[in-house]
């Protein structure tokens, strides 16, 4: 049952006499404020402050408490998360505290300065004086409060329940709050702080633990698992078991009760719409469209080509015309004549003509031209090769070398072409054989293929594992130094090379790098890595081929990759099913509240709730040296605080305390009437008594008596 905030502005502030105290329960989770003597606090809200910037105006505003997340979309909340004034359970951020008090008083209806009512405010047990004095200063200076009293919330809760008759004058209060849990013994109605015990585990840690566990188990749903949602989940589903080990064994065995205890949270999910196979009309229409487009493209290409051909032909005609004109012109006038046209000499014009004719032929699509060339060049090349060296001039020797080189390369190219051709033939032959084999004896063929697939996949997996393990190992330990079994062969080699290079040199001196050959080391290392990478690729290619063949033949075959994918990522091949959007909470239901009893599950080296009770009683015994009182303590154990509302808490506590106390002591665990509000109710009923007036201190007291007095100030709870 989630807590509901109440932040309606109250209207009767002016009607209440100035002698009526304001009662504040300043808790790490919720802030409750109201008038003394009433049966419930007027204003309740979460004790957090956010300072986002408004997106449009750009100013920074302050928002206290939790608000409708829909309204927060007008604000840029990226740099401002919710902040609390508390560190553990002590107030340390008084700027945030001031915002909170502002909001609280404003909603209570205060509108005239100053706040003219005495204030009773709760704090943690044995609050440091620094925090207390700063709080007093804040209230006196900024709000003009006449007088203040500080009290411990657990004590108020116990006194209230004592009034209700739930617990006795002597007893133990176990208060499990948001960030801490306290155990305070009460003797004659007064808390004994010397025997008090505090562990820094609370509801916040339980929620945080649950959130982390679920995020690790379902990484893709991390956005869904916000703090508030997880807190709701915790309040609804978590419980405390009597014996963790036996409960967990149920789940391990997969018993039916375990199935029932597992809760399933189905996230909203819409199945992807199944695509209907396109109807025949659709297909026909699409093909017609494609054809039309293809035709259009072809026409465009044709048009371009014909225009290009026209251009070239024109150019050719122009050039031929020029040459004809040249013949008519006199020899001396040639340069001046040509200067107009842009060509310098007759040869240039002729070479231009040749080029244009060539391109024209190409445009018209005559392929023979290209193929003629290599043959011509072949016959050209070998002219010089046969002639021995001493008969040639130096230039011709160079020419001969070039021809030789060209000949070898062209021969090499031909040989490669030949080889490729032969390989193709070979592959064709093999495929044909395969087909024959398949047709003859399908079953045997399939078996053989399956076996081959298994072998290959194992090899690939092993290599992959080696690689990832090597990578994992290297990431774990920053740098290259790792333990031998973790590195794969290439990295081992690299390590070896580096260390030998380091040790080869003289004692104490690092002369690596003076000689040039030293740097060849790195070439060796990278080559090793390359070799490693090539090998598996062949195997993987082979594997893929076999897999595809198998898939063709055998309808029931599924490639192994789907089955063995690890739980962290769903394979992208199959469509998302309903189950992918479910969050199962089974063991976490009772694993998370377990940290209240075993804080070392999250690394906090302190005692759990049941052990704390024992410690507290022990401390009391050493202080007061009276055993009868301590024995009677366990007769009335009150559990309060928001974090004690888990089902199964009382039984577990009883069992735990029974283990520690001597046999036969009466143990009675009592639940507070309202675990969450009791602190405020107790404070309110206390403030309405005459007793309260004598306990407050006002501003002059505060400044006269000084810090020392403030340190020793403790409220007296009984009359």
């Amino acid at each position: 049952m989630p807590f509901i905030s109440r932040t309606q502005r109250q209207t009767d502030y002016n009607l209440i006499p100035p002698s009526c105290p304001i009662v504040i329960d300043n808790g790490a989770s919720y802030f409750r404020i109201g008038w003394a003597g009433e049966s419930e606090p007027r204003i309740i809200f979460r004790n957090i402050v956010q300072r986002p910037r408004h997106k449009i105006t750009g100013e920074t505003v302050t928002i206290v408490g939790d608000h409708d997340p829909m309204l927060l979309k007008y604000f840029d909340c990226t740099r401002s998360g919710p902040r609390s004034a508390f560190d553990n359970d002590v107030v340390f951020q008084f700027e945030i505290m001031e915002y909170i008090l502002d909001f609280a008083f404003d909603r209570l209806g205060a509108d005239e300065a100053p706040i003219n009512h005495p204030i009773l405010i709760t704090e943690c047990a044995c609050n440091p004086v620094h925090s207390r004095s700063k709080m007093a200063e804040l209230l006196f200076e900024t709000y003009g409060v006449p007088s203040i009293a500080f009290g411990v919330d657990a004590a108020f809760s116990y006194k209230y329940n004592q009034q209700l008759g739930i617990c006795d004058r002597n007893g133990l209060a176990i208060c499990s709050g948001f960030t801490t849990s306290h155990v305070i013994p009460f003797i004659n109605g007064e808390p004994v702080y010397e025997a008090c015990c505090r562990t820094n585990v609370g509801g916040y840690h339980v929620t945080d633990y649950l959130k982390q566990l679920l995020s690790l188990k379902y990484p893709h749903h991390m956005q869904r698992l916000t703090w508030e949602k997880v807190e709701d989940l915790k309040m609804e589903h978590c419980y405390i078991t009597l014996d963790y080990a036996s409960e967990v064994r149920l789940f391990q065995k997969g018993a039916k009760e375990a199935e029932e205890k597992t809760r399933c949270w189905q996230l909203p999910w819409t199945p992807t719409p199944v695509e209907e196979p396109p109807s025949e009309e659709e297909i026909a229409r699409k093909t017609a469209l494609k054809e039309r487009q293809g035709q259009r493209l072809r026409e465009m290409a044709e048009a371009k080509r014909s225009s290009k051909i026209n251009e070239l032909e024109n150019e050719l005609k122009g050039l031929e015309f020029l040459i004809q004109q040249l013949r008519h012109v006199n020899g001396n006038d040639i340069p001046s004549f040509l200067a107009e046209t842009g060509y310098v000499s007759k040869q240039e014009i002729e070479s231009a003509i040749v080029k244009v004719t060539q391109s024209l032929r190409k445009a018209k699509g005559e392929q023979d031209e290209i193929e003629e060339k290599p043959e011509i060049s072949n016959s050209e090349k070998y002219t010089l090769i046969d002639i021995p060296d001493n008969m040639l001039t130096p230039e011709q020797v160079k020419e001969k070398k070039r021809q030789l080189f060209l000949k070898t390369t062209s021969e090499g190219r031909q040989r490669a072409k030949q080889k490729r051709f032969e390989e193709e033939l070979e592959r064709e032959r093999r495929n044909k054989e395969d087909e024959q084999r398949r047709l003859e004896n399908p079953e045997l063929y399939m078996e053989q293929l399956l076996v081959k697939y298994k072998d290959l996949s194992e090899k690939v997996e092993q290599r992959k594992r080696l690689k990832t393990n090597g990578n994992n190992g290297n990431e774990n330990v920053s740098g290259g130094v790792g333990r031998g079994e973790r590195l794969n062969a290439a990295q081992k080699e690299r390590m070896r090379l580096l260390t030998t290079a380091a040790f080869d040199r003289g004692k104490g001196e690092d002369t690596f790098g003076i000689k040039d050959e030293d740097w060849q080391l790195y070439k060796k290392m990278s080559k090793d890595n390359d070799d490693e990478d090539e090998g598996p690729n062949e195997d993987e290619a082979e594997l893929a081929r076999v897999a595809s063949k198998l898939r063709e033949i055998d309808p029931t075959f599924f490639p192994k990759s789907d089955a063995s994918s690890s739980g962290t990522e769903p394979p992208r091949f199959r469509p998302l099913r309903k189950e992918d959007f479910q969050i199962l909470i089974g063991v976490e239901r009772f694993r998370c509240p377990e940290i209240l009893f075993h804080p070392n599950l999250i690394g906090i080296e302190q005692a759990g709730l049941d052990e704390m009770a024992g410690v507290s009683i022990q401390r009391l015994q050493s202080k007061s040296q009276s055993l009868e009182d301590s024995n009677g303590l366990t007769n009335s154990i009150l559990i309060t605080g928001g974090s004690c509302l888990y089902p199964g808490m009382s039984e577990r506590l009883e069992a735990g305390i029974r283990m520690i106390r001597p046999c036969g002591t009466p143990i009675r665990v009592l639940r507070a009437s309202d675990a969450v509000l009791d602190a405020w109710l107790g404070a309110a009923s206390f403030a309405s008594t005459m007793h309260f007036q004598r306990q407050v201190f006002n501003k002059t007291d505060y400044y006269e008596k000084g810090e020392d007095w403030l340190r020793r100030y403790q409220l007296k709870y009984s009359f």
Binding site: I56, D102, P128, Q606
Partner: protein
């Protein structure tokens, strides 16, 4: 005595400043609010900048431009400044009443599933309950390993 005098003087001047400010700035703030969305104003979720019952407003106390992340003392510093060793040890104080480390045998549960875990992986130091979980652990990327260890406060923290 001197401190009280100073304080009252300060209060007087602060009062004067407050009234002057209010007269000028009320309009300024009003106009800014008008630019905000209707539903935001209606829901009244924003804290008003000037509150009538306060003697010193927030924007005077913490002027804009100064580092907002004021150096408030954290709990550790507060405790250190308290100097609890100067006072008698049997007086209860914040540090005294803390619980001692647990005397019960440590509960060892599997980091991933929550079952009882008699074994632990020497490479990653995670606890596991059976061979399937072990396979899962060995296939986890390092980031997840560190996060599981961080749950137990056993992650490697490089400072």
């Amino acid at each position: 005595m001197g401190s009280i005098f100073k304080l009252s003087f300060f209060r007087l001047t602060a009062f004067v400043i407050v009234t002057a400010f209010e007269e000028n700035s009320l309009n300024w703030f009003d106009s800014r609010f008008i630019l905000m969305e209707q539903e935001v104003i209606e829901s009244e979720m924003i804290l008003p900048t000037n509150l009538s019952f306060k003697k010193i407003q927030m924007h005077e106390k913490y002027p804009k431009g100064q580092a907002r992340g004021r150096h408030w003392k954290h709990l550790k510093q507060i405790i250190q400044a308290e100097n609890y060793q100067n006072y008698p040890a049997d007086e209860p104080n914040y540090v005294n009443i803390e619980s001692p480390p647990s005397m019960h045998p440590r509960k060892q549960i599997c980091d991933i599933t929550g079952f009882e875990a008699p074994y632990s992986d020497p490479r990653t130091h995670l606890r596991y309950a059976n061979t399937e979980v072990f396979k899962l652990i060995r296939s986890l990327p390092n980031e997840y390993v560190q996060r599981y260890l961080a749950l137990r406060n056993a992650a490697v923290v490089l400072k």
